[in-house]
Symmetry: C2
């Protein structure tokens, strides 16, 4: 099989290293030497390290938003004006999340990248993502709103973010957790297994009773 071209080799290598060590800890020299391309090639093809980081994200998020919009279209067509149940929405999101990196065989990398985007440095990345990919998330939350009419808006907002946290944290810290789990109960853990375990937890969390009102 032919070697992939330089740009692809850079992206393939960069996403793995970024996911493993973060952005600041991964130098262009790390990337280019591992990818066996010239150091200057990154700046030639992408312009800067920052732009490379955004390109790495786009390669996951572009197909993700595309597919997710399509999946939501399908759901809306299927329910034809009726309210889409919460479980179906969550199921659809999970399926899309699982489908995208399956092509590129690394869900872990995808989740690590999302986790980094949330937690890492100032915000140029978060801003970039919100700008380019905020729409599909807005559409999703609007559908969730219809599926959970009894939940106050603020409560739903927070619970969605709680669950986002659970999923990203778990799937992105996967290696560490897998290590601990295997040591404690020498049991093999797969990602699909985790997603299976996450499902009832997320549903229960979204449907939890409302918190007690704060005392005045």
């Amino acid at each position: 099989m032919a070697e992939p071209d330089t740009m692809t080799r850079i992206l393939d290598t960069a996403e793995v290293l970024f996911a493993e060590r973060g952005f600041a800890e991964t130098s262009l020299r790390n990337i280019t030497s591992k990818a066996r391309v010239n150091l200057a090639a990154v700046n030639y093809h992408f312009g800067s390290k920052k732009a490379l980081i955004q390109a790495v994200f786009s390669r996951y998020l572009d197909p993700f938003t595309l597919r997710f919009h399509a999946a939501l279209d399908e759901l809306e067509a299927h329910y034809d004006g009726r309210v889409i149940p919460l479980e179906a929405l969550l199921e659809s999101m999970a399926a899309t999340v699982l489908a995208v990196p399956a092509e590129r065989n690394s869900l872990k990398v995808f989740m690590r990248l999302l986790g980094l985007a949330y937690s890492q440095a100032q915000g140029h990345l978060r801003r970039h993502i919100q700008q380019h990919y905020g729409d599909v998330f807005t559409r999703f939350t609007e559908l969730v709103r219809k599926a959970t009419p009894d939940l106050p808006d603020a409560e739903r907002f927070w619970r969605l973010h709680f669950m986002l946290g659970t999923v990203i944290f778990t799937l992105s810290g996967l290696d560490a957790l897998k290590d601990i789990a295997e040591k404690d109960y020498d049991e093999q853990v797969t990602t699909r297994d985790l997603v299976r375990r996450l499902r009832p937890v997320v549903v229960a969390a979204m449907n939890a009773p409302l918190p007690v009102e704060p005392r005045e």
Copy 2:
């Protein structure tokens, strides 16, 4: 009031900068210039940047483990051999987490640091924490085991980590989330408010029905 001494000034400044930007993105020059101490003072007092990072953690985790052990002692004494209910255990943990940084007035910093420890680079930090502070967590999970006898061990393990993820992710990404929340529903959000919202979610998640068995 007298200026705190050099070591304290370094620690106070370092924890804030680390929490804001991560470890790699925070240089000793950033820290020492903001703390108005000599650059060489970090290496004089701590030996290295790595040791400074661990010292920053110790200042939170030492009192935390102390207090948490004490809180669990109290619970065990109060229930006197009977099973401590899950809610009481979670409540106790939440109270301890809130109490420790209250003295130093930064829960956000504490959570950001924990989040970084989980997600950041290789593992020297995770190993350090596991070594020095693993005991109290082991004790806690053992009590949770007694409180949830119907939950399979693996399931409990994962759910505890899911919830750890929720809490750390939420409280450590607090600033970003607060921004979004305030833009969407110009509503002021306090940390105590979030903890109040987290409580029923965490309880519901721990008590969620078991996942469906995977098909063979």
